[in-house]
């Protein structure tokens, strides 16, 4: 099992604040994805990063893939209540197997 550790596990912030979620592993991944999951629903893909050092921006969300392709971060600027949810990273290894991270539960307080 290739473990993807996310930190923090829980995060509660005020609306308008910035935050960063980290996804770390000792394994190398050919690609890494970030998902958001809301209660009672399945995860929904936010972004896929494939190149070491790659940075992708999706409105207020910025995703970065580490140079060594072992870690990633998700930064949210000016958080909104609609950002509340469980954020999951998921890595695909060279054997085409998928592993999800441990998850970060974000609560944005109005």
């Amino acid at each position: 099992t290739q473990l993807l550790e996310q930190s923090p596990q829980f995060l509660s912030i005020q609306e308008g604040e910035n935050l960063t979620v980290y996804c770390n592993s000792s394994s190398v991944f050919s690609s890494l994805q970030w998902y958001r999951q809301e209660p009672g629903e399945g995860p929904v893909l936010l972004v896929t990063v494939v190149t070491g050092g790659e940075v992708k921006k999706l409105k207020r969300l910025t995703f970065q893939f580490g140079d060594a392709r072992k870690d990633s971060s998700l930064h949210i600027t000016a958080a909104q209540t609609g950002d509340t949810g469980l954020y999951l990273c998921a890595g695909r290894n060279t054997g085409n197997q998928f592993y999800f991270g441990t998850g970060t539960s974000l609560t944005v307080i109005p």
Binding site: Q6, S31, E41, L45, L88, F98, T102
Partner: protein, 113 residues
């Protein structure tokens, strides 16, 4: 296009009973995944199908779990007999061969008493 469908949405059983879950992937998606998600954790891959063949079932507890994807479309996941620790949400996802984007269904929440 219609999303991934799963049924039932909720199931409550007693330990040692059997249970089955059904998944209908997005039309044309060759790859189908079953995940187990324990409350507060990330999903754990149980089995991955490519059409009707198994690609990866290394994390499937084969003494009690089984899955099939006859005709390469719908899939069923069975647990027999269930244990208390099987209480979780079982998620089904599918993807096409052109992209590794997985589309998830709403999941089946299983409670084993």
């Amino acid at each position: 296009e219609a999303g991934v469908a799963q049924s039932p949405r909720y199931k409550i059983i007693e330990k040692r009973q059997s249970v089955a879950f059904w998944c209908n992937p997005i039309s044309g998606h060759a790859t189908l995944y079953w995940y187990q998600q324990i409350l507060g954790q990330g999903p754990k891959l149980l089995i991955q199908f490519q059409n009707n063949g198994v690609v990866d079932d290394s994390q499937l507890p084969k003494d009690r779990f089984s899955a099939e994807r006859l005709k390469g479309v719908d899939s069923t996941l069975k647990i027999q007999p269930a244990k208390l620790e099987d209480s979780a949400v079982y998620l089904c996802a599918s993807s096409s061969q052109l992209t590794d984007t997985q589309y998830f269904g709403p999941g089946t929440r299983l409670t084993v008493l």
